[in-house]
Structures are given as structure tokens and as C-alpha cells.
Symmetry: D2
Subunit: 349 residues, 4 copies
Amino acid sequence: MNFRSDNEVGAHPGIVEAVARAFAAGSTPSYGDDPWTQKVEHRLRELFERPDLLAFPVATGTAANVLSLACCTPSWGAIYCHPQAHIAVDEANAPEFYTGGGKLALIDGPAGKIDPKKLAEALAQPVYGVVHHPQPAAVSITQATECGTVYAPEEIAAIATATHRHGLKLHMDGARFANALSFVGCSPAELSWKAGVDVLSLGATKNGALAAEVVVFFDTSLARDFEFRRKRGGHLFSKMRFLSAQLDAYLADGLWLDNARHANAMARRLVAGLTPLKGTQLLYPADANEIFVVLPAHMHDALQNAGAQYHPWPSDRPGERAYRLVTAFDTRPADVDQFLSIAKAASTP
Amino acid sequence: MNFRSDNEVGAHPGIVEAVARAFAAGSTPSYGDDPWTQKVEHRLRELFERPDLLAFPVATGTAANVLSLACCTPSWGAIYCHPQAHIAVDEANAPEFYTGGGKLALIDGPAGKIDPKKLAEALAQPVYGVVHHPQPAAVSITQATECGTVYAPEEIAAIATATHRHGLKLHMDGARFANALSFVGCSPAELSWKAGVDVLSLGATKNGALAAEVVVFFDTSLARDFEFRRKRGGHLFSKMRFLSAQLDAYLADGLWLDNARHANAMARRLVAGLTPLKGTQLLYPADANEIFVVLPAHMHDALQNAGAQYHPWPSDRPGERAYRLVTAFDTRPADVDQFLSIAKAASTP
Amino acid sequence: MNFRSDNEVGAHPGIVEAVARAFAAGSTPSYGDDPWTQKVEHRLRELFERPDLLAFPVATGTAANVLSLACCTPSWGAIYCHPQAHIAVDEANAPEFYTGGGKLALIDGPAGKIDPKKLAEALAQPVYGVVHHPQPAAVSITQATECGTVYAPEEIAAIATATHRHGLKLHMDGARFANALSFVGCSPAELSWKAGVDVLSLGATKNGALAAEVVVFFDTSLARDFEFRRKRGGHLFSKMRFLSAQLDAYLADGLWLDNARHANAMARRLVAGLTPLKGTQLLYPADANEIFVVLPAHMHDALQNAGAQYHPWPSDRPGERAYRLVTAFDTRPADVDQFLSIAKAASTP
Amino acid sequence: MNFRSDNEVGAHPGIVEAVARAFAAGSTPSYGDDPWTQKVEHRLRELFERPDLLAFPVATGTAANVLSLACCTPSWGAIYCHPQAHIAVDEANAPEFYTGGGKLALIDGPAGKIDPKKLAEALAQPVYGVVHHPQPAAVSITQATECGTVYAPEEIAAIATATHRHGLKLHMDGARFANALSFVGCSPAELSWKAGVDVLSLGATKNGALAAEVVVFFDTSLARDFEFRRKRGGHLFSKMRFLSAQLDAYLADGLWLDNARHANAMARRLVAGLTPLKGTQLLYPADANEIFVVLPAHMHDALQNAGAQYHPWPSDRPGERAYRLVTAFDTRPADVDQFLSIAKAASTP
């Protein structure tokens, strides 16, 4: 019953086998001039209905985020994001480092989503071209958000409109893009460039890969220096097939969506079982594969005693104790059911 | 007959299997709090006879080099290295980026090795504490060098003496450390900290891994901020077991040395067959697994026609055409022999 | 009637003459080994009652702020400041640039002052030593604040307590320190290190100098690399006497306090005349030499028509139009009185 | 008899008076929107016969150099310069800092001048667009050089041809541009943009100003982000008139050339008197206002005993003791003559 994080789980066997096959194939050109890397870009062009997009594999989500943001933002630029954004809270100033000193400007909003009105207000400030002020350069949204919620295409479009009105670029941190896509049920294009996204960090690590992400440029003019930035950051893999073979298997035959669908279903099953129980309360709608929930103390104690693993989470209301449960591509229904039966037992008055 | 590079080859099956096993093992704590990562540090402590060393896995050689150099060098510091050093020529200013603007100062010497006398002279300049001048901070040597030669322990010690006399730190880029070790035949300790190395980038990728290197601090005071630097650079893997499982298998049961020994033997076999042939000439002693050799034009043509693959290499003498041949852990003796028989046939007058 | 800014005014004749004298004196050692620079440090040690402080002249307030903050904050560090702080809003990411990617974390509070309770809460987050999170490193307060208010010594002490409890350093942006000091009426020591300030950017430019600020380290361990940082930033003056002669004259015979006292008095005179008038309202207490005030439209129009100069200022309340008036060391009472008489005339019903 | 450096001397009275006048003039818009700054750009456009050039005052030579180089060079770029260049030796890695990690590549040549053939060879390397290699971005030459020699227009043109052939930009560190111009006797245009210079750091500090340099863009496309870079570096002066009033006086009525002519004449007078004396030898032609000369031991001792001041300088020949003598706009002929008479007396057998 490990619901601690989708980065603590293993990897999908199909992806592991793809890696093994790629490395059993003997010699291949290094640094990305290999067939796997080409296939990944090809698959992304088909899946996203954009025959001109440019795609660059990297190994970590932080690398994907900060390399793509650095393509949008000068040293004197500002990147607008939610106060809970991974880039703001969990990347130890990597965005500032890679942009040579760019700034993150925080725009709040409920349930992990940037409020498009607050964004529009912030971007309407008369700072453009004034040398004293950080120059608005990019907006970054997380899909699914750090609160487990999902931006609908029209919510993205509202943010994109404010973003593009002032010439900024829209970045999407898609560490859990597949989970979001599975929730919304639209096409990848509709959830990205058709809604206004210029560059996407598309995650695979949390959804079945060993270590693989891919930066997808829809606004290909932004990609001009990407390869120098990746190399200069130490993120160019000599045996690139390691990254690309994972991504190839991930995107082939709908595996990415199957994995996400399962993780989301497990989250819904948890929610369905938990929310009727007295004293529980969701902090946010559990759109994707993360649940933020208040648990009564005795229920939490019973779950802990039974070996269930999950993280505490800060709650705004004093006295209330909230927790985060994360499901993954390999979460077993039996674990969910065991968790729920313990919770239910502890909940009986 | 691919002798292009040891980063174009596949991976050792034992390492691939270790990765597969690690990911089949289900959930494990992320970011390095896993048993594989602990085992790697443990193995290194035993192999290097230093129970206090600190070890940090990363995925690329550039990351290993620049993260460790950044621990030695402030923004106003200078790193002394050979003009052919990978950090000077092949890392797109990653050392300068990670040090926040540090400078590489080039110290020449024959066959890819820093001349310790020139180094001592350079370090004797009266620049210390003078705010105008870049401050000498570190010396970086490559083992085996970019010319395929290997520093003997006493050669390292001579450089270390000059380095430490002025309070600088000695870094070793050990992308091919195992090949060097196999050539010298001493202990890992004798080729590193006992000779004066303070921090080692220990490579595995070129010697059988998929993508894995490990930074080994013998001067552990340098490691204080390493983890922040790694994270800030986007080089902290959530599923760290991917890196550590490789390194664990690499270091277990002498696999790293077996692989290196084989690669070196294949290089010696090439040298033994080529050098008697008329018109050939080694540019440098082929200590490890790289051969730099002049080939007569008709021999080169014959090899190319037969499908042999290798890179041209700049030669100092006009009119002379030199090439680089690299062997690896999986180079087949049959390929070497086929190569040699073509060369020999082309060499017959 | 120019109340636009204290950086639009000229310079005090005594300071200009001091510069002229210093340059008429012929040759002197460059880069700060001159008698003027030594005298400045000496004067500061006496004025601040700290015979061990270290002082470094620079030419701009931004340089003073960011060089001193860079001595407190690593690339992965966070600097806590007010959302209206000059370093956050008006320095085009210079703090992020000089810290190699440090982050500014914003702590709100009324009237331009950091709320010490909010600061304490922010600093109590369990992020210390956790590699994912930016590491709290410094707190920066502005004295006088960007709202024209002044921190009392005990307000500084409250912030210092929260700051030091977690091992952070306290920086004071004292671009208008003299105005603050004149308002409080305590000693320079009481308003700085005795209240817990570790490093002070002490301004002179806005208070009568041509271009001169001085970084004053009370925690001298922070100054270790200052001179390299200053040089590397291009802020080391060869003819340092230009900066030091200004500062020497500024600090001699109480000129800095005389100038500040006059500027503050002119501000009080404006306030005394304006606030009785119908429709006017101060946004903040006018402690120092900046006044933020709501003016009725017809009053504003009358003033503009008469040639009065001052900047509009954003007000939180819709429909309300606020303005900033700044006085300086050379503001003429006659200008203030003329301004007030126009305002009064426009105010008569 | 102070021949230590032209940055130890005072300032020209005409420039000091111009500063005093500018500050006595009362209020003026800050940050460069003042009449003095506009006049400086106007004067430069006339003097350089380029009505479209863009000019930006800064306070230090390092700032002028590194801000202009940062406009030419990305983080992964290389700047080619002479091993003795001020930017390589005397700026504590400021170029690397301002370019976010750019690299200086050293191209040797006699007497402080880049050898255009060596430059052409270096720039012909096949590194363009290859992500591993630092990308050639700019060439920087010093005029007059650090050896006191002066590039003729056709020497500049030869370097410019090699530079522009590969799309790089040509920067000139003109800390002593006026001395060079006075030596060559051509027009400012002929010694700069007509010879191929794209951006010039035009110095005034060493030639009579208090602290003033100006960056002059002939390739105005490079200037796009200059103002953000200047502000972000802390180099934007609020009371910009301080810089501009100096530059205005410096460029008016030929003062810059008068000052340089005098300094050069004093250097020639020294050379004329010294070189006939036995045991003396010039290291380089003394084109401008710096003399590098071997002095016999007893002559040096006699000069020192008489209070003459100058720096020792490294000589390549063992046993030989060389020195640097620098003249300036205010060097007195009497001092030169006294120096020479002491030298002559010490030289008599």
C-alpha cells in the first residue's frame, strides 16, 4: 500500500524491455543520431498532429522544464507561475540558474491553477521595455497541477490569451500530461498547442519510464539554441537511445494513455471509497492521480499501523490534518481495496 | 568493424539485467534513498580503500565533470587543464556555466598530458589574492587522456604537488579511469587519492553502462554543496536506482576491470597488427583503448571500402592523414582481425 | 517644483568641491589604496561605533545591494524581501544575476514593511537541507522603505530575531538610511548592527552625492569574497578617490544628516499643508522624504498646470488617484510653499 | 616622477569643471534622459561619421568591455583575444560572468597584437553548429595594446576579415583609443568601423576623466538588449549626467586628442632619452603612452633612489629586468627630463 509518489514505483516492463532491446542492438550513432530518437520525434508529430514540431529527450523533469524555460526567458526576464508550481518550490532555483538569473513571479489561483484574471492584471503592468523592471517573458502552467487538478482546454486558452497578448510564451510542465489527457479525454493537440501552449515538458518518468522526459516545441522558433543549452547543461546523453527507446515504447500503442488511465482509475477508486467516510474531505477535485484529503486521526493511525504509506500535506485550516495519496501505472486494485477497507473499518462509529 | 567511439556501442548485458531487476523490484524511495545507491557508495569505499569517501551518481560525463569542478572553483577562479581536455573542447562551456563564470587556463604538454613544470610555472605567478586576476582554484587531468595515454601514479603525484602547493584542488576526469587502471595495474587508490586526486569523475558509460557516472570525493569537504548543485543543475534522478543499479553491477565482481581489460587488449591487438605495416605511425603511445594513427591513403581507402568505421583526426604534420580508432568492452576480436587483414593486404607493395 | 525623485536633483556643493579637490591633488594609488578610501572606512567605524567593520565604496545602489546580497546567498538560496522592495521590482533581476540564480521570496506587510510574523512563518517551513527547495539565506529590508516609512530599531530587531534564528543574514538596503536615521533620532549603530543588521548598503547618491554608495559589513565574515565579486562585476573603480572623496565629505561634519534632515523637513511641511485639504489622503505615514498621497482631480490638474512635477502612483482603491512626492537635500521651502498655495487654492470649495 | 599608471593620475580640470557645472544645474531627468547624455551620443555620431551609432556611458573599463562582449556572445560562445588582453588577465572573469559562462580563447601574436593568420586558422576549425564545441562568437582586440603598440587600420581590417568571414563580431577595447588615434593620425572612423570594428569600448578614464567610458555600437543590431544588461549589472547611473558631462567635455574641442597627444609625446621623449643609453632596450615599439624597457640594475637603483615610480614587468629573457613606464595627459616635461638626467648620469661609464 505505497501511495507516497509516482516516482517511487518501478517501471513498466514494456519500457524496460525496449531499453534492453535497444542496447542489445549493438553499435549506433551517439548523441541522438540514432533511429530511436528519430522515431520518437516522428511519433510525437503524429500524436500531436503537428508535422513540424521539434522534440528533444532529456532525463529529468527539472531538466525539461528549465531548458525549455531558458529558451523563452532572458536573464532579465520573468516567468509567471503558480506559487505551488514545481519550478517554484521543488527545483532548488534551477530555473533561475538556467536562465542566468531570471525571476519567477507568482500568480495565485484556486486548486493549483493560475487565475487567468490575476495573470492578465499582472501582465498589464506598464513594465515592458522599462529597464528597471524584470521583463515578462513566459508563463508556466502545470498539467496536471500540483494539486491533482487538470486544466481544461478552455482554461489553458484563457491563460494563453493573456500570455500571448503581451508577447510572452506559454510553457506547460507536463510531468503528468498523460494523466491530464486521460481525464479530459480530448486529443493531445487540443490539450496543448491548439489551446495555446508553445512548449511542453512531456513527462514519462512518473508514468512508467525509468528516466525519460521530452521537450516538445510547438513554437519551433524557440528551439533555436536548445541543443547548445542542453549540452552546456550536461544533459546531452551520448547513448541517447536509452532515453529514446523508453519514449518510443511509451508513446507506441497507447501505452502512455493506458498507464495514465489506470493510475487515474485507481485514484477515483480511492476517492469513491474514502469520501463517503465521516471526517474525510478532499482538498481539491481529484482529477488525475493525486488525492489531497483530510483524514480523521484514528483513520490515519489505523492506516499507518496497517503499513499504508503516504505523505502528510499542509492544510490551511488549523487543526485539520491532510494527506497526499498518489497512484501510479502499477497501483494494484487490491492495495486500494485493502486501504479502503481499513479506512472504512476505522471510520465505523 | 565500428571503431568510431566507445559511446556508440551497446551496454553490457549484466548491467542491463541489473537495471531490469532493479525496476522489477517495485517501489523504493526516490532521489537516492534506495539500497542500490547505498551499495554503490559502499563498494567504492571498499574498492578505493577510503571508508569516508562520498559518492554521487549522475548520468553524463559532462555533469560529473562540471558539478565536481564547481565544488572547487568560484566564479572568479581558474581551472588549469590540457588544451585537448574534454572540459575545454567538448563541453560547450559547461564548466564555465556551472562555476558561474570560471575560466579554463590551458597548460600544454606532450601526448595529452599536462607538463608539470609548465603547470608549476603558471601556478607560481603572483596572482593570489589580487582582485584583478582570475584566482587559481583547480587543476583537472583526464585519465586516460584524450590522446589515449595514461598518467602513471608518479606523474599524477607531480601534478598534485604543484596543485596543492598553492592550495588548489586536483580533479580527475576519469571517463576512462578503468582503462587507465587496467593499463597501470595498480590499485584504484594508488591511481587516485594516494597520488593526490581530490575528486574523481568515475565513468561507466563508455565502459559498458547505459548512462552512469559517479562523482567520488576523496576531499570530502568539497562535497558540502554538491547535492544542491546537482539538483539545481537538473541532475538529481527521482528514480535514482536506474543510475545506481548500473554502477552497482559495474563495480561488482570486477566487471569494470574486465570490460576495460578487454577494450585495452583489443587496442593492443590493433596496434600490434598495424604498426609493422609500411606508412603507418602512432601519434601517441596507445596505452588504453584509443589509437591515434597515421594510415597511408590507399590503406584508408581499402578499409573504408570494406566498411570499417573510424574518425579522421587532425595531424600536426602537413600532408599526413591521421585517424582515431576506439575499442570497447564488446569489440570482437574477429572485427579487429578482419580490419588488420584488410590493412595488411592494402599494405603489400 | 520638482518632486519627481531625489535622484533627479543635483549634488551638494560641498561634495562636488571635495571631488574637485581630490582630483586636483595629483597622483594617488589606484583601486582604493588611497587616503580618501581609508578615511571613509575610518569615519564609518567611528560613526557606527564598530572599529572592526569593513566598508567598500561602489557607485550605484543596485551594485551595493546585489554585491552584498551575493555575499550572503548561494545560487540555490532565497532572499526574503517585501513585494515592493527595490531589489524585487526595480533592479531588472540584478540580485538573481549576481547570486548566480538566487531567488527572491516575497513577504508582505503594511506600508512597505515586512511583517515579522509572516517572515517567521515562512522561515519555519521545513526546507533546510532539503535539496529540492531553495534554501533560505538572507532577509533584505529597505530603510526608509519604498513607501516612505521607517522601521524603528525594535521592528528591525524583530525581523533580525526571525532571520538569525534560522541562520540567515540580515541585509539593509539603506539607500535612504540617513533619512530614516534623522526620523528615528537614534544612533547609526542602533539603527543597524545593534538591531541585528549584518550588512548595510549605505546610500549617498539620493542625499547629495553625485554617485556614491558604500557597502558596510558588520558581520565581517561575509566580506571574504567581496572584493572579487566587486571586480568581477566591473564595479572596482581605478580612480576610487572619486567615490571615496564624495563619501568622505558626505560623512564629515554631519553633512549626511543635515541633508536628510532638510529633506525630511520639507516632506513634513508638504504633509502639514496638504493633509488638511479636502479630498487628500496619505497612503502611508510620511516618515522620511517620500509622500504617497491621494489628490483630488482638480487639485492635481491645477498643480500640473502650474508646472509641479511628480509621479502618479498606483492606489489599491478603484477610482482613487494617488501620487508620489519626493523631497531632497536641496528642496526649496519656497517651492513647497508655492506647491501648497496652489493646492490650497484648488481645494477651496 | 610617477610613471606607474595612467589610472593613478588626477583628472583634467576642464572635465572636473564640466562635472561641477552639470551638478550645479539643478534637477534633470535621471537614468540618461538628460541633455548631457544626448549630447555625448550626438558628438560621437559626428566624430565617428556615423549618424546611426548608439552610445551608452558606463563608469569603468571592465563594465564597458564585458557589457559589450555579452551583447555578442552567448553562454556557449567563445571570444578570441590576445593572451595579454585586459579581458583575459585583469578582469577577474568578468567577461565569463557577464556572458553567463562564455569562454575566452587565446590567440597569440607579437607585441600584444593578435596574429591574423593564427586567428584565421583557429576560426577555420569545423566547430560551427556542433553542440559539443564552444561556438566562436566574437574577437576582441585592444587599442592601444597592453604592450603599448597600436594596430594600424589595415591590421584591424585583416583581423576583421577573418572575424566577419565566420559571422563573428569584432570588439575593440579602446581604453587607450585616443592614444592610438593620435599615433596613427587617421580619423576615428578609419580606426574603428571603417576597419571593421562592430562595437568599441571607448575609454576616457585613463586620459583625463574621473571615471567614464562609453560603449559605441557601430553594428546597432547588437545593442538591442544593452540597456537591460547594463541595468542588470548594476551599471545604470541614476545621475547619469555625471558620466555624460565628463564625456561631453572630453570629446568637445578636441580635448581627448590633446590629452592623448601630450601623453604620447611624453612617452616619445622618454624613449628618445633612454634608448641611446647603454644596457637599455625596448621590449616593444612604444607607439602610444606605455613604454616597456629593460634597464640596467644600477640605472634602476639610481632612479628608485631618486623617487621615480614605475612597475617591474616580466621579461622573457632570463636575467633581464624590464619595467613599464606610463605617461599621461598631465605628465610634466620636467619630470621626464629629471628622470632622463638621472638615468643618463647612472649610465655614464
